[in-house]
Every structure is written in C-alpha cells, then in structure tokens.
C-alpha cells in the first residue's frame, strides 16, 4: 500500500473543504433550519405525531440523510471530476498507486466531509427539537456507511461526467426524487398499499428505515435488511469503480 499517496490525496481534498469551510457548512445548516421552519413548525404543528414520535423530531433522520447523500455525491464527484476537467489527472495516472488507493483518498475525504456536515446538522436539529438517539452506535454506523457508499457513487458520477451539467444531472434527477420518495419525511406505512410495494424498490427506503430505527427504535423494514441493502450498494459501486480503472473508462485514452 502506498500510504503517503493516500494521505496526500486525502489531505489535499480536505484542504479544499477547509478553504471553503464557511460555504461548506453554512448552506446545509441554513437549508436544514428552513426545513425545520417549514416542515417542523408550519406543517408539523398540524401533524401531531408519526408512529408516536413528534413530527419535528421524526424528520430529523430524513434531513440528515438528505444532506449527507447530496453532499457525499457532490463532494466525491467534484473531487475527481475537477482534475479531469483541468487535466491534472495525468499526475494521478502516472503515480505509483493503484485504483484502490486513489479511491480511498478521494472517497475517504468526500465521506469525511459528508460525515462532518451530517453531524453539524444533527447539532443544529437540537436547537429546534428534542431528540433522543436510542441506538447511537447503530446511528453512527448507518451514517458512516451512507457517507461512504454515496461518496463511492459520487466518484463514479465524477468519472462518468463529461461536463458540469452531467455532474449535476444524477443528483438532481435520481437522488433527490429517491430521497423524497424514500420515506425521509414520512413513514412508508402512511402510503396506500400499492405505493408501499413500489417503495420497496427504492434503495433509499432501506437506508432511511435503518437510520430512523437507530433514532426511534421503529423501522419500515428490518434492520438486517437495511444493512444488507447498504452493503449491496457499496459492493456494486466498488465493482463499477474497479471496472473503470481496469478499462480506463473515461480517464485513459
């Protein structure tokens, strides 16, 4: 293993994050606060409880997940797209490193950023609602796994994208709808039966369910299934990245 290389990539990527620390943290904090005002206070005051949890608190895991997923994807995709865009990728390709080390560096940094943002949102939520985390270790596990797997996914998008529009396309067209339809702000059990069945094809339902369970002890699907889903998603992403580096897809001519 080329540890100095992994450290170099990780530090370099984190430096970008800290260079724009205010922007990186401020926007998720502000948007989360807005969600609390709109969903929690305005609408939530008319919805008494969901599955025995105050609505304001019920949406906290969903809000964290929404930010963490979008941040992980955008950080990781930008991290690898930018060197491609400005041609500095040649240095990565010519360095004595393998694909796994490159991925650890870039994805590790993107996941770290997403994790920090997730934790900041959790802290922000404390200002608005009372939340008690029933399974803190499971909560952190789900959070870390989500950061990692979605950073891997973002890395793939960054390699695939040939322009800045494509970079935005997948998060906007795929992730946001899936997150909104994935039970972030409601329980799947509140849907009509047909939509409940359809929802089970949405991978984010499994993540959401497991993550919410770690807060409130209630889940739409079993926790084991949630973990299996996230493991499967991670494995698929790793497989795609392995193929990308083997074939040089969109990085080597």
């Amino acid at each position: 293993m080329n540890f100095p290389a992994i450290r170099a990539i990780y530090k370099y990527e984190m430096a970008r994050f800290f260079r724009t620390l205010m922007e990186s943290l401020l926007s998720p904090v502000i948007s989360t606060s807005l969600y609390f005002v709109v969903f929690g206070a305005a609408i939530g005051s008319r919805i008494s409880e969901v599955e025995g949890v105050a609505y304001g608190a019920f949406i906290v895991p969903g809000l964290i997940m929404l930010s963490v997923m979008t941040q992980a994807i955008s950080n990781a995709s930008f991290g690898i797209y930018f060197p491609k865009f400005i041609d500095t990728i040649f240095e990565i390709l010519s360095a004595p490193i393998n694909f796994f080390e490159i991925v650890i560096g870039y994805v590790g940094a993107a996941a770290t950023k997403a994790l920090l943002i997730g934790l900041v949102i959790l802290a922000t939520a404390h200002f608005f609602v009372d939340i008690e985390i029933q399974h803190p270790v499971a909560m952190l596990t789900f959070l870390v796994l989500t950061c990692l797997s979605f950073s891997l996914f973002g890395f793939i998008i960054g390699i695939w994208a040939e322009n800045f529009q494509q970079l935005q396309l997948i998060p906007l067209l795929v992730i946001t709808p899936l997150v909104f339809l994935g039970g972030s702000f409601y329980s799947i059990s509140m849907l009509p039966p047909v939509w409940q069945t359809i929802s089970l094809f949405n991978p984010i339902v499994y993540l959401m369910s497991g993550f919410r369970w770690s807060f409130f002890g209630q889940a739409d699907v079993s926790v084991g299934l949630s973990l299996l889903a996230i493991a499967l998603f991670t494995a698929i992403c790793l497989g795609v990245i392995w193929w990308i580096f083997k074939t040089g897809y969109r990085i080597k001519s």
Binding site: I9, R19, P96
Partner: protein, 309 residues
C-alpha cells in the same frame, strides 16, 4: 550496464484505428539526455504517455530501471518524473502544497528541506505561498518541473519543455537540465526545436508517424551537419576534372558547368584558398561560387520526407 529505459516494439492503436505508435524500440542509457525530435503528431507525447501510465499501450513492452511498466508499474513509476506539455495545475492551490502533494503521491515521506531546495533551484521559493492562478505562464511551468522533481525521479520526461516560453526561461531550463545531468538523472525530452536538441542532448532520436527513423549520437549528427559544399560554376564547361585537381575529390556536374567541393568547417583548414589557386593555375575561369550547409534541420526534413514517400 543495462539500459535504464528499454522499449521493445511498443504499439499504440487508438479505438478509431489510428496507429500512434507503430512498434517503437529504443534503449536509453542511465545518465544520458536523449531528445525525441519530430513534427507535431509524430507520436512523441504518446510514447511518453505510454511509458508513464497515462495511456495504455496496445502492444509490445517497456521497462524502466528493469521494472516492467505494466506488471511492476509501482517500481517503474516511482523512478519517473513527468513534466507535461500543457500547463495543468489546480488554480486555487498554493505552490508549496501542490509540490508537497506530488511528493506524497509518489510514495515519498515528507521532506521539507528537499522541497525548499527544489523550489529555490527553480526560483519559486519566494512564490511558495502564492496561489497558482496568480503566477505567470513561465512560473507555472516551473511549478510543473518542481512537481516532477520533488519526488526525486531517476528518469525525467520533459514533454516540449520550452514550447512557448521566453528566452530567459529557456536558458534557465537548459541550466536545470544540465544540473540534473550532473546528478545522474536520465532525461528524455521531446522537442521540435532543433537548436534545443543540439544544445542539451547527448543523443537524438528522430520520430515521425509513430516510428523511430534514427537514433544517433549528437556528435555524429553534428559531423554530418558540419559538412559544407562549395559549388563552383565555370564559365566554360569541362569534360572531366583536371588531373591537377584530383586531390580535392571534386564532383563534376553532368553538363560539365560546375564543380562541387566538400569540406569540414571544423577542420584545421578548409582547403578553399588552395583550391581556388589551383583552379586559376589550371586556367579555369569562374562564373560564380556558392556554399551550402546540410543542417540538422535539413537532415531531419529529408528524413521525414523520405519516410513520407
């Protein structure tokens, strides 16, 4: 001593069917400076990219320091520094950070003293905390060289290092190359400036259309280049070269109107004075004289034309 870079029948055919390298073979000795000379699109950059791992060769093999560039790419690449043709740098990063990044990327432990030495050598030390976008074009090129040197490569590829740089930077660049040569670094540079190849290379390889046309010591090429021809046009044609002029080894043109004399400008004497005296002693009357020199450029151009024919 085995060659430090060994290229055997290396091929690169792009998906579209374009053959950028048609079986290139080349051996480079440790410590030498070799210039790859060729027109645009000859395959110079493709060859370098294939050796550095940026593009995958489609045939043949290559070794750097005895390590196969595919099967033991780590060991091979650790030895290689690459200065690309295009200035590719992250604009918002500080000079020192991007250089440290490169060192880490090549698996080397942090060494601030070495980084300082490299930056000072390239007159970048005062600019170490500047962001790259604030630098001039010449300074950016220096940063690229610093990035390549900071991980102590044994083999340095310079892809068109002086294309579009000012005279001062070009001179600096040649000095840097000279300094590296004294440290025993092997340097492979591509250029289409013949003077550059002349100024710094030990050997010259001419490449065109994905093939190496010639690899020769610069000195041998210079000897060919140092030859001049004196053409003497005669007022009245002659049937044959007069016997008294036999020692000058003259060529007579078909129409008998001109004589050609070949000489070496770097020799003790060119023999021109004696020849002219001998001509007048023979009673030959001259109409015109002219001299031509076969420059490296001419050798180069004629070789390229031959390969195109």
């Amino acid at each position: 001593m085995p060659p430090i870079v060994k290229v055997e029948n290396l091929q690169k055919t792009y998906d579209g069917g374009f053959e950028a390298l048609k079986g290139v073979s080349l051996e480079i000795e440790e410590g030498e400076i070799i210039a790859l000379l060729g027109p645009n699109g000859a395959g110079k950059t493709t060859l370098i990219s294939a050796l550095c791992g940026i593009t995958g060769p489609t045939g043949g093999r290559a070794e750097v320091g005895g390590h196969d560039i595919i099967t033991s790419y780590r060991k091979a690449r650790e030895m290689i520094g690459l200065v690309p043709q295009e200035v590719a740098l992250e604009p918002f990063e500080k000079v020192i950070n991007t250089v440290k990044f490169s060192r880490g990327l090549f698996g080397k432990q942090r060494d601030d003293a070495l980084i300082e030495r490299v930056l000072r050598q390239l007159s970048l030390w005062d600019k170490r905390n500047s962001r790259i976008r604030e630098l001039s074009g010449g300074m950016k090129r220096r940063v690229l060289i610093a990035k390549a040197l900071c991980h102590e490569p044994r083999v340095l590829f310079l892809d068109e290092p002086t294309a579009g740089v000012d005279v001062e930077l070009r001179r600096d660049m040649w000095q840097i190359v000279d300094g590296l040569r004294r440290e025993g670094v092997t340097i492979i540079l591509t250029t289409h400036y013949i003077e550059e190849a002349e100024a710094i290379a030990d050997r010259i390889a001419v490449i065109n259309k994905g093939e190496i046309l010639l690899v020769e010591d610069k000195a041998a090429l210079m000897t060919r280049m140092g030859r001049k021809t004196l053409r003497i046009d005669l007022r009245d044609p002659v049937d044959k070269v007069p016997d008294a002029l036999a020692e000058y080894d003259l060529d007579l043109s078909d129409d008998g109107h001109s004589l050609s004399y070949h000489y070496d400008t770097r020799g003790e004497g060119t023999g021109i004075t004696r020849l002219l005296q001998a001509l007048s002693a023979e009673g030959l009357s001259l109409r015109d004289i002219q001299t031509t020199q076969s420059s490296l450029e001419e050798i180069f151009v004629s070789m390229i034309q031959e390969s195109a024919a």
